[in-house]
């Protein structure tokens, strides 16, 4: 297990190098002169030249990349063009908001998804199963920003139960979490159902039933345990999707998280911020996937991923 963890950790290195490379190149792929962009559109030639010199933009690309990674490791992602503050400061303040949002939404989607999936699988082809599966399909097909708008319309404006926007108070997190968690719940419900159905048809379940084990015990002790293994992978992937989806949810609910920061920064052409935030979100996703793989391995000792 330890060896596997180390090996899996080593595997993330090329991905991390790739991610930093892509984020680094972003700045150079933008049409126009990076120095001009960073110095601001109104900057004169001398200022642009100073910026170029200060940021080492005259160096060859590989050297620049080395500097970029070196700085990033020590927590220096450059400065915001608009505010002049360090990118890490701008991000740091909002990082936990997005993590919280994604975390609560993941919890909600696991909770609802698992219950719905188990109910569906155990009452297969019943009207309840069909209702759940069609609801899940709708949940999967809905743009989360639109769901958010509709929830605000009803719960915040029509019946005035919950606040329209913001983050922090218990009431204010309800709608964003539902907005972001719905698609995940749908995916997990579908995954749990099909995984349970697959397991239920296996011999050892039939054996357990034949031995006279109570149905409830068969479902929860024997079937669910094994059915959950593929679900774990989906949950991990889902957390990543939610980090991305937070961009839209945060915009709809005016939440000051990382996602909204990215969108605002794109609008203002504040590329160091875009770079930094995208880098942090991607690295976080790599980390989450690493954790998921480890727990997958832990849950399922039968498979050998080597």
């Amino acid at each position: 297990m330890f060896i596997y963890t180390v090996r899996r950790l080593i595997q993330t290195i090329p991905v991390m190098i790739g991610v930093t490379l892509v984020v680094f190149l972003m700045m150079h792929l933008i049409p126009g002169d990076p120095a001009q962009i960073i110095a601001g559109e109104s900057a004169n030639e001398q200022q642009v030249e100073q910026t170029r010199e200060r940021l080492g933009l005259n160096d060859p690309l590989p050297v620049q990349y080395g500097t970029f990674v070196g700085n990033a490791v020590t927590g220096d992602l450059g400065n915001s063009i608009r505010s002049g503050r360090a990118v890490t400061d701008e991000i740091g303040a909002r990082f936990w908001v997005t993590v919280e949002l994604a975390f609560y939404s993941t919890l909600l989607s696991i909770f609802i998804g698992l219950i719905a999936g188990i109910v569906s699988a155990t009452r297969r082809n019943s009207p309840l199963d069909m209702i759940i599966m069609i609801t899940a399909l709708f949940g999967l097909s809905m743009p989360n920003f639109w769901l958010g708008l509709m929830l605000i319309q009803y719960f915040a404006l029509n019946i005035e139960w919950l606040p329209v926007s913001g983050w922090g108070t218990p009431q204010s997190i309800i709608l964003p979490v539902i907005t972001l968690g719905t698609a995940g719940a749908a995916i997990i419900a579908r995954m749990t159902r099909s995984s349970m159905l697959e397991v239920i048809h296996q011999d050892y379940i039939r054996t357990a039933r034949a031995k006279g084990v109570k149905e409830r015990y068969v479902v929860y002790k024997h079937a669910l345990r094994n059915a959950l293994i593929p679900v774990v992978t989906v949950v991990g992937l889902q957390f990543g999707v939610l980090l991305g989806g937070a961009v839209l949810t945060e915009t709809v609910f005016a939440i000051n998280g990382l996602g909204r920061l990215v969108v605002e920064a794109i609008g203002q052409r504040d590329f160091p911020i875009v770079q930094g935030a995208v880098l942090i979100l991607a690295l976080m996703f790599v980390f989450v996937n690493f954790i998921v793989d480890i727990s997958y391995r832990f849950l399922n000792k039968r498979i050998d991923l080597d």
Binding site: L29, P143, W146, V241, V278
Partner: protein, 298 residues
Amino acid sequence: MAETTVNVSTEEKKRVNPQMENFKNVWRKLRQNYLAMAGGILIVLFMIIAIIGPWITTGDPLAPNVADRLEGPSSQYWFGTDHHGRDIFTRIIHGMSITLYIGFLSVFVGMIFGVVFGIVSGYYGGRIDAVIMRTMDVLLAFPGILLALGIVAVLGGSINNVIIAISIFSIPVFARIVRGSTLSVRKLEYVDAVRALGASDFRIIFRHILPNIMSPIIVQATLRIATAVLTASGLSFLGLGAQPPTPEWGAMLAAGRNYMWEHPHIALFPGLAIVLVVLAFNLFGDGVRDALDPKLKS
């Protein structure tokens, strides 16, 4: 002699038959699946709307009509009017072709690149496989919409850039699936047999491997269109895709946001349009998967 010729041709027909049978089989299963058929019929209906819709709606989707702004649904304006007084129904009909265009084209381009990368990776293995798959891992490391967002941030917001972004965003998904299938097919005896007969790599890949891994590609492509439509509308909603006054649904939601609190119909109908299109592709994709993959058929 004549008899032999006849025999040969029936022989040949028989050899083609399994594929034909397979297709008929899949079609039969698909037809029995009401939800999938509903999805398929909706998709056809949407395509018809996209093509002839603009000809049969009377209003101009772009011209403002201040006198009738923000009117609720009525017999004259089925879905009401927006803040410029434009008929929302007309705009949604005109937006259909944009949505389908983005969905189909971006997935098609992503699929082509993904399939090529996946097959090359799985077939040749070794270093080229490592390079391609690590690159795909990097692309997959950007969660959800973020990769598309980053690409559009660099290229600028427009429908074509959204297509480029979503194509790139779809490549790794196809590449991974195709690589996996190629690996499992490549080891089969018949591939060794054709190779022994002297077939070139190109011929083996296109004649013998690709036809046998089409199922997962088709399933993925159908489901991927749903994702592409959602992603594209999201980008436009953020102001990074189609720009106003284009009647793209996500852009319509973004533009109507400031008015929707008092006039909910502005946000209701474009959103419903997105849900319906995505739902249709999801329904159809699920059905195709069940029909093509007997393992999952319950």
